[in-house]
Each structure stands twice: as C-alpha cells, then as structure tokens.
Amino acid sequence: MPDLSALLEGLLFLVGEEGLALTQIAQLLDITVIEAQQLLEDLIASYQQGSHGVEIVGYGDRYKFVSKAFIHPLAQKLFDLDRQRALSHSALETLAIIAYKQPITRAEIEEIRGVSCDVMLRKLMARGLVEERTRSKAAGRPILYGVTEEFLDVFKLASLTDLPQLPDYHDNSDNEDLYERSL
C-alpha cells in the first residue's frame, strides 16, 4: 500500500484545476478531516521547500496544483500569453465592498461608491465573481449580492475570513491627518 501522501499527490494531479475539497480528501483516503488537513499541510510544505516548479494551493477550500509564479514568464513564451484578464479599479472597488459587506444590495454599494454600479455588477456576475443571493426584506425587496467561490480563488483566499483587515479610520479620538496616518 503506497503511503497516504503519495495517494493524495496522485489524486491532486488528476483533478487538475478543479481541485479537491478537504472533506473529499478525507472521504477518499478514509481518514478524518483533521488527519487530511495535516497530510495536506505536509505535502504543501514539501512542495514549498523543495526545488519544484509546481506547488499546492488551497483557495476557497479547493486544493490543487498550480505552477509557481517564476514559471509564468516561460509560460507566456510557450503559450503566447499576452492577454491578462485584468480587473479595473472600479471592478476591484465594487468587489471589495461586496466581499466585506455581503449580503448587500445594489443601492448600498452605490451609496458607498457614489456612482452607479448596475453595469459593473452584471459584468462581475458574468465573470462568476459575484452572485445573487436572496432578496432583502427592505422595501421593494431588492436583490442581495455576495461573492462566489471563484472570487476566493482569484484573490488567493481560503475563505472570507482570510480577507485582509480593512484599514481603520474610525478612531476620532485624535485629530491626526488621515493621510499621514495611512502612510
């Protein structure tokens, strides 16, 4: 019987970009989730430390093999990759607001951004980064929006709790200049 680590490695190789969830791994290998977590961490570390061109990442509870960043310049040469799917400032701002405030209505997003977000929301939904959740109980029962698992993947997040801390400006106790403090 090959060891569990080798089995996990082989399975991750097969599933490719779809990745495996922690619970799937535990089920397949007939071990507990905690054991699976430990097994994964060890395997991730061995790819991190050793001289490898690939690594294992866990975004949105999907563990998968990706090529390391230093492979990218050569990949660009190999595949003629010059088209980077960039996200505009407006897209990033809208996503940030939804991620930190979800579930949130369109009107609430627009209140924060000060501009209309209708088109942007539709674009983000088409890219699978944002989804419609339920409807709010407020007047008119507006749709509530939230981010998707794809969002977690493209921002390298294991879960929403992984989001970087929002900068805190709400401290009014001293009158220091806002911009000096944010430096």
Partner: protein, 242 residues
C-alpha cells in the same frame, strides 16, 4: 492654478473629493465644507471648459454640498420633536468619505493579490476522467443566464485549448527508393507490359511523377525492368528476368 488631472482619473465624486482634500491639506475630521465645495465646483467648471462630459453622479454630489452650505446660512432650528432624527449632513459626508477611503485602499491590496494569482497556472482535469463521470440528467438542469454565459466561456476556453499550438503544412518528401517500392508493390506479378502512363496514374502530383520516372530508370539500370517505346512515344515497361 492649472489642473493636470481629468475627471476620468477618478472613480467617482467621492474619489475626487478625497483627492481635493489631500491636495489642499484639509483635515478630514475637521472638514471645511465651504472650502471643499468651492474646490469641487471649480474642478467641475474646469472640466466643463475642457468639454469633458461630467457624469450625473458628480453633479448630484455637488448639489448636496451646495445644499449643506446654504443650510448653514439659515438660522438653526432645534426641532427634533418630529421624531425623525436626521444625521448631520457633514457627519454623513465624512463618514462616507472615510468608508470609501477604506475600500479604495483595500481594493489596491486585492488587486495585488489578483495579479499574483494570475502568475499561478493550473491544468484542466485529466481528460479520461470526464468519461468516468456519470452522465448528466438533462431533466434536472437549472441555473441562471450567468451560469450559461460562464459555461459557454468554459466551453470556448476548452475549444481554444484543444487547438494545436502551431500548425505547419509540409510536403511529404518522396525518395526514389520509396517510388521503387511503390512500383514493385503496385505492378507485382504483371506478366504483361504496362505503360508509363499507368505508373503516372499512381502518382498524386507532378513531383511524385518525376521521382517515379527516376525510379523506373533505376529499375531499368539494374535490369529489373525492360522497356520499349512505340511510335507514339509511349514508354512500355515489362518485368525483366533478372
């Protein structure tokens, strides 16, 4: 004072206000709305003179600023008796600016993470495993139009990925030896004479015809073929006895 930035450099009215506050070294917590209103209006006028289109959101915020400014000229009424507590417009503006500033900053961090993620590439799932997956129950498919767009995008990506990286069209090179082999195979066991035209019939292009002629010459040289020509200049070939 000349403006070197245009309205297109801003994400919206709040972004513009934050920029004006920073440029004029104003304190956000002790916000001078009169000064901000003047600066904000001046900027919009400048843009108008440059014939740049100003989105309605900018004008709506300007109206809000002017309303606040004019309200301060009126005597204050302490009428909270109607029960509706209204947030002081200045506090509200400061709160919005602070909140916007938070998200503007965090979106830069997110953008950095996004660019990092683009450097990591993964591969599609092993192709044969697609066949193992149990077939789809078409009666139970649900999803929004966005799911459909996404699925279509994925299908197109897969199609593009299935295309070869480079296509090169080359002519197969035929050697005399290949043609000798071909002629021996094709006319194997012919006891009758056959014409060179019959050999040409087995060729797909002129090049192969020429190489086949060379092959015939070679076969004649080693006495495997004997030849003759009739009065119409037709070449007749026959297997020799060598």
């Amino acid at each position: 004072m000349t403006f070197t930035v245009t309205i297109n450099d801003f994400e919206g009215p709040l972004d513009l206000m934050l920029d004006l506050i920073r440029k004029n070294n104003m304190d956000l917590f002790e916000l001078d709305i009169t000064l901000l209103t003047t600066q904000y209006a001046a900027f919009l006028h400048q843009m108008e003179e440059m014939h740049l289109e100003i989105a309605s959101e900018y004008l709506s915020e300007l109206a809000g600023l002017i309303e606040y400014k004019s309200r301060r000229l009126l005597p204050k009424e302490k009428a909270i008796l109607d029960g509706e507590y209204e947030e002081d417009p200045k506090d509200r503006l400061v709160r919005r600016l602070l909140e916007y500033q938070q998200f503007k900053e965090i979106s830069e961090t997110l953008g950095e993470r996004y660019r990092e993620r683009l450097q990591q590439l993964s591969r599609p799932m092993e192709a044969i495993s697609q066949q193992w997956l149990s077939s789809i129950d078409f009666n139970n498919i649900s999803g929004s139009v966005y799911d459909l767009t996404k699925a279509m995008g994925k299908a197109l990506d897969r199609y593009v990925a299935s295309l070869p990286l480079a296509v090169r069209v080359t002519k197969p090179e035929r050697s005399v030896d290949d043609c000798i082999y071909k002629i021996r195979q094709h006319f194997d066991g012919f006891s009758r004479a056959f014409s060179f035209d019959e050999v040409l019939d087995t060729c797909i292009d002129l090049e192969e015809g020429i190489v086949s002629f060379l092959a015939v010459l070679d076969l004649i040289r080693v006495n495997l073929l004997v030849y003759t020509m009739d009065k119409d200049d037709r070449i007749w070939l026959k297997w020799g006895n060598a």
